[in-house]
Symmetry: C2
């Protein structure tokens, strides 16, 4: 602790845990992107709100930038500390603080993992319905920062829809309690909603009140094989009309090949261009018959080539693994990730243009498609050829992202559906937000964080 600024922090907040070992700086200084070299000044691991306030006030006095940090599973560089920032990790603040049965609210500290929050909800006979593959590592604070979506959005919406209150330390170290679990509260601007999706640039989320809900009826999981993406859209429309869908996730043969190579079990004998994992309510015989009838109609139309319904919980999990294992299976190939969304009615036209664009611009790269379709969100992963230099690969991908962003802008889409802007999509924010909107956002940023110490360089094109 030879840096006098860190010594001052230690003196001000005697109980605060601070790490400065090189291995810790690397571990806490990066997220699932691996593009930037971690270089934080230190890692602070507060165990209380008061300690978070100590850190933020200290940062204001010394003008040191802060990177709020959760599970660092982010894919947009939102939690990267590469320029001497102090990483403010919430990982020690991971407790459940309380449960209100009447309001069905679970109070948690921000550093709790999504999975731990889900398990706490189940212990009360309820569910916290936001869900995705990183559940074991990502934290509620990080979910709030990016308004995380995931695999149940068509049924349950995004994180935004399940946050009844937030406890936040602002950029000046003020503690604010936003909305406090009220269902109805028309008393001024909803700063809670403003905070959700702000990627740690407006304040440090230290706690949340999660709304819980009843578990869904028993569900069935089905894997479908389809001839092309048009068929995926047609089957989605058919299934949404006939069934009560909980999830409808699409991926391509290329994605499946990576998951299988990574150890997952093949579920269908043949090989097909596209696949869907779908989960739907199947509480009774009638619902199960409706699912079979929908499947048969899809098959009769030529939209579905093959399929399987899970006959056990283990088989359901195995089918889900085919979809949920994709991100991990791609990691060794250092994928360049696009996480884009358009309005649902724009999906067919957008897809047509974007497939043509990628075939034209990326003939040499392997492109892995998967996504949520039903909410207009597509993940397009470009895999780095093993022999290619990292920087050259990224430069080539970014050249094409400019073109992709232009197509998105034409269709009124979003350059980031659920990952956030962070460092990765910062150059493309203008494709999704107008100059007037960005000016308003910059103005809001100055109100919450006058010295611009919170996650500088993230989200905004110029900081």
């Amino acid at each position: 602790m030879t840096d006098p600024r860190l010594a001052d922090l230690a003196a001000r907040s005697p109980g605060l845990r601070l790490l400065t070992e090189p291995a810790d700086l690397v571990h806490y200084g990066r997220d699932w992107t691996r593009r930037w070299t971690p270089a934080p000044i230190a890692i602070a691991l507060p165990s209380s709100v008061a300690e978070v306030q100590d850190v933020v006030r200290w940062a204001n006095d010394h003008r040191i930038a802060l990177v709020p940090s959760g599970g660092r599973t982010g894919l947009s560089g939102g939690a990267v500390a590469a320029h001497g920032e102090l990483v403010l990790s919430l990982e020690r603040m991971h407790r459940v603080l309380g449960f209100s049965p009447a309001g069905r609210l679970l109070a948690v500290q921000a550093g709790i993992t999504l999975q731990a929050a889900q398990e706490a909800a189940r212990a009360h006979g309820l569910i916290y319905p936001v869900d995705f593959a990183a559940r074991g590592s990502c934290t509620i604070g990080g979910n709030v920062a990016t308004n995380a979506g995931g695999i149940r959005v068509i049924r349950y919406g995004n994180t935004r829809d399940w946050i009844a209150g937030l406890t936040v330390v602002t950029g000046e170290g003020e503690l604010i309690e936003l909305n406090r679990g009220l269902v109805k509260n028309s008393s001024g601007y909803d700063l809670r909603q403003l905070m959700i999706g702000s990627e740690g640039t407006l304040g440090v989320v230290v706690g949340a009140l999660l709304e819980l809900t009843d578990p869904p009826p028993p569900a069935q999981v089905m894997l479908l094989a389809l001839p092309d993406i048009d068929a995926v859209l047609a089957v989605f429309a058919l299934f949404r009309r006939r069934l009560s869908l909980q999830a409808f996730e699409f991926f391509t043969d290329v994605a499946l090949a990576h998951v299988l190579a990574h150890g997952a079990q093949r579920a269908l004998a043949g090989e097909y261009p596209c696949y869907v994992v779908t989960e739907f309510d199947a509480a009774d015989e009638a619902a199960q018959q409706a699912a079979l009838a929908a499947f048969e109609e899809g098959a009769a139309q030529g939209w579905i080539i093959d399929g399987v319904i899970a006959q056990s919980q283990a088989q359901a999990e195995a089918l889900w693994r085919l979809r949920e294992g994709i991100t991990e299976s791609l990691a060794p190939h250092k994928p360049y990730k696009n996480d884009v969304a358009v309005r649902i009615d724009a999906v067919p036209a957008f897809l047509g243009e974007i497939q043509a664009l990628l075939a034209r611009e990326y003939p040499q790269f392997e492109v892995v498609w998967f996504g949520h379709i039903g909410d207009g969100n597509l993940h397009i992963n470009i895999l780095k050829p093993a022999a290619m230099d990292d920087a050259a690969f990224i430069a080539e991908c970014e050249r094409v992202t400019v073109l992709l962003a232009a197509v998105l802008e034409k269709h009124g889409g979003s350059i980031s559906a659920e990952h956030g802007i962070g460092l990765v999509k910062r150059p493309y924010l203008e494709s999704t937000r107008s100059a007037a909107e960005i000016a308003l956002m910059c103005g809001i940023k100055r109100v919450f964080d006058p010295q611009r110490l919170l996650n500088p360089g993230k989200l905004f094109p110029v900081d």
Copy 2:
């Protein structure tokens, strides 16, 4: 048009309709509150977004305050123009602009009434589920301004949950398109959500994309008579556990007496302290049996004294009229309105304190209670004795509102659940929002409206 400023506006925007007749100034210068004397400079009735921008830019050049105006059914003075403001009425912008079946989105201009939007949704076999008694007069723009709640919040949430996009003219006349109907969009601050509930202080909402949903299953409507408010809470817990509730609205004998005096039909022979109108899914015989069983259990516990199930659509509407007619029936008594909310788990303790407070402080006044209970929202109306002077009555009510606000603050409640702050609750905002929050809100206001021309004096305690 002798005022040179108005002549300038007419010259800049030749197609703009402007009204300056005294009767128009009165009509457009007030809302359902009648406390302030309308005194706008004029009424502008734009028919296009460009005309709205003309008005806002003109207001900036001349530094004239603007009052955005919808159906003026507000109960908090949010649409009052009593200080020479220009009223910017959206009433001519009332069209449905389009419908997207895939996204289930209805595009409307802000001046459309809630009822017209509901009917447009039904024409597509879907519903826009926000609903309350002012539906025929209130507008979507006004609903957005106050984040309107209403009688279906326990099933469907507030206006906030059904707005997929907003078209807004900011305080400087910039046009911004917020979120554009995207289901997933993690690309910077969600200014759409910030705008919802901002009471016309940040921008003029000129259009909205409304999310629609499937109609609920067939429902039944039941009127219950109960001995006290504790029984109302107990029956709510019972019914919520056993039935799929769409609405659960409570009112007292005093409220019923006013509605009956106003022409509604009595539905139960006896007279009881409390009543509930509840609507619940009753798609099949099993659901109807469940409702009867819940009723019988409530009766066996002594929580329900009497009740009736509507046997026809006409009877269902008659039962609903007992609840929905309350506000109108009270209007001749110039009620002082409190629209408060607490967390659901705080309702019993809060109710106990507040009943004692009102009995102690208002022994001379008639107090009419009604509310939504299931979402923690209570409407407490104090009726003016006919012989009492208006100003003396309001002064006496405001003295007690200070005490009420203190009880609310203690329970973490809200001084305005769904009416907004406007002029009426402005002195009490600090009971619900901390000084730090209010400072942030003022900062945001300056970003969107640097000259503070949009609805000045509303919402903020000091302007």
